[in-house]
């Protein structure tokens, strides 16, 4: 039996029926990692020994009957989520040797659920990037075409799931970093509502935009992971106090009468024809399943989101990354005096994209520019948020492409930041508004995966799951596997 492409649901049944042990499942996953890693490079660290210990503990739990839906199931975790005793690098030279003294809340929760962590996923440095080319270590490759990018910044977590190196993974999403790579790799990715999942232990990039979420093969699995990781956390004062529903209850494959809107601004200039066709077909499928679709929705402020984002995110990043001074942890360079040492530490420890964003954020916040850039962007943020609020009075969900293109070639955009930033044009308005977004595999263009993005109002993850699940029940795109 081929174990590495199991869904959480399938693995759970095999484990419950004692047809497979967690140790067997984990060994099979580690073998798959050995067989594919030299091609895809999805992991910064593979934690084979720890994984087998966790699998043994999970098997004891399974034998005692004290289990959860995630007990004994192998997961990959993005390398900006702190894991006690296991290096957490953010794919940066700055944190290459950093070993956290504590677990992130999501890691605590998955540990309590009996997870088996097979390793830490590669990413763009400090989650800044859309292609994984900004990892300070190596570039993760797209398993559908190894000459192409997997998307980013959660490229490792998307590839890990896409080629069977993990059953599911956790990523983080600040402007599309879960959804865009999920779309590029043909897997499911959820950016939950801001505040739905605790950010405690997630290395901060942009605190008002960052959110942790799952990458999985099926929508059903994303609901199972959300059941385990969502909820209020006293250690994250921005986490929401709303009760967490049982997300699996929303997995009813019935969307009859649901009102869906298609905002035309997301079918941007420069969008590839194959992507457009795939998304139009996917929306037509939702219509066929009984949803009513308004194809003529307009969200005019969409065109302002990119600029607002690239002011707000770097400004927050500039403040968050001020902590890397070479004193308490992380890379440290020597210098003539304390200030010279600090400047050299930051100059040598950060890669080019991180430096660009710190410079950009410092500029936007500096005296004389604060009102023109930062404050202006925060006001435009209000307009974007209001526009979504109004749309959700008329529609249960909005449907868009996840990205205007299929995965691009490695090297194609890396020296042109503005082109790279445009990769996130369909995903970053969602972080600005704080609403949830789900990317679901919705076909192929030129043999490469296309993602459909489903958007809902704050805390309407259940609506997104219901639509995504109904779509996956009626289609088989998510069952296709890369030839690797």
């Amino acid at each position: 039996m081929n174990l590495h492409y199991l869904t959480i649901g399938q693995a759970r049944r095999l484990l419950a029926d004692r047809e497979v042990s967690s140790v067997e499942l984990t060994k099979s996953m580690l073998e798959r990692i050995s067989a594919t890693e030299d091609k895809v490079h999805a992991f910064v660290t593979v934690t084979a020994d720890e994984a087998l210990q966790q699998a043994e503990a999970a098997d004891r739990r399974l034998a005692s009957g004290e289990t959860t839906p995630l007990t004994g199931i192998p997961v990959q975790i993005k390398d900006n989520i702190c894991t006690r005793g296991i290096s957490t690098t953010c794919s940066s030279k700055m944190l290459q040797n950093f070993v956290p003294p504590y677990d992130a809340t999501v890691v605590d929760k998955l540990n309590a659920a009996g997870m088996v962590m097979v390793g830490k996923g590669n990413m763009d440095e400090f989650a800044m990037g859309s292609s994984n080319e900004h990892s300070a270590f190596f570039t993760t490759c797209n398993p559908w075409d190894l000459t192409r990018v997997p998307g980013g910044s959660s490229g490792g977590p998307a590839v890990g799931v896409a080629c069977g190196e993990a059953v599911y993974s956790l990523g983080s999403d600040t402007g599309g970093s879960i959804r865009q790579p999920a779309g590029f790799c043909g897997v499911v990715g959820l950016k939950p509502t801001y505040g739905r999942v605790s950010r405690y232990g997630l290395v901060a990039f942009a605190s008002s935009l960052d959110q942790i979420g799952p990458l999985t093969r099926e929508v059903t699995d994303a609901a199972l992971v959300m059941n385990a990781i969502a909820g209020h956390d006293p250690r994250d004062s921005t986490s929401a106090g709303y009760p967490v529903p049982d997300y699996t209850a929303s997995l009813v494959p019935d969307i009859k009468g649901m009102r869906l809107g298609v905002p035309r601004e997301y079918f941007v200039e420069g969008m590839q024809d194959g992507v457009r066709r795939a998304i139009q077909d996917a929306i037509a499928k939702l219509e066929e399943l009984g949803a009513s679709v308004d194809w003529e929705v307009s969200l005019p402020h969409t065109r302002h989101a990119l600029a607002a984002y690239y002011i707000i995110a770097p400004s927050e990043a500039m403040a968050n990354l001020a902590r890397y001074d070479g004193v308490k942890y992380g890379f440290s360079a020597d210098g003539e005096d304390i200030w010279d040492a600090m400047e050299r530490t930051r100059g040598l420890g950060f890669g080019p994209e991180v430096k660009r964003r710190i410079i950009l954020g410092t500029y936007a916040l500096s005296a004389g520019y604060y009102d023109a850039y930062y404050l202006k962007a925060l006001k435009v943020r209000t307009l974007i948020r209001q526009e979504f609020e109004e749309a959700f009075q008329r529609y249960d969900a909005l449907i868009t492409p996840t990205s205007p293109t299929v995965p691009f070639k490695i090297g194609e955009r890396v020296n042109d930041p503005l082109q790279m930033y445009l990769s996130d044009v369909c995903t970053l308005p969602i972080n600005i508004a704080g609403i949830p977004g789900l990317s679901v595999p919705a076909g192929f263009a030129d043999g490469l995966p296309v993602g459909m993005q489903i958007l809902g109002k704050p805390f309407a993850e259940e609506t997104l799951f219901r639509i995504g699940h109904a779509y996956q029940q009626a289609t088989a795109w998510h069952e296709r596997k890369p030839d690797i």
Binding site: P101, S237, A240, H301, A307, Y310, K328, R356, G434, P458
Partner: protein
């Protein structure tokens, strides 16, 4: 308008980040293009629009202050590049006190 060399150097000094000559030139070009793309925001009428700092409404969040175990000194120092006698070791901060 292209950023001047001096502007990039001033910003780099503000965020305490040493840049090479080559980086300064590269960032001048790249960041000028990015800043130019921000012009689109001028289309938006934001008169009387309040800023949004956080996407969900938050008031001051408070909690009860309770004593609880913290990290041990050795845990916290374990990642320190330089340490001495249970402290982080840094170079002298004030001039003339370099001992």
């Amino acid at each position: 308008m292209k950023l001047s060399r001096e502007q990039v150097m001033t910003i780099a000094a503000l965020c305490r980040m040493k840049l090479s000559e080559e980086e300064v030139e590269r960032f001048r070009d790249q960041l000028s293009a990015v800043l130019e793309s921000f012009e689109v925001l001028q289309e938006c009428d934001t008169e009387n629009v309040p800023p949004t700092a956080y996407p969900i409404p938050l008031r001051n969040v408070t909690r009860e202050d309770r004593a609880a175990p913290s990290f041990s000194q050795s845990d916290i120092l374990a990642n320190a590049p330089r340490q001495e006698d249970g402290s982080f070791r840094v170079k002298a901060v004030l001039e003339g006190e370099g001992n």
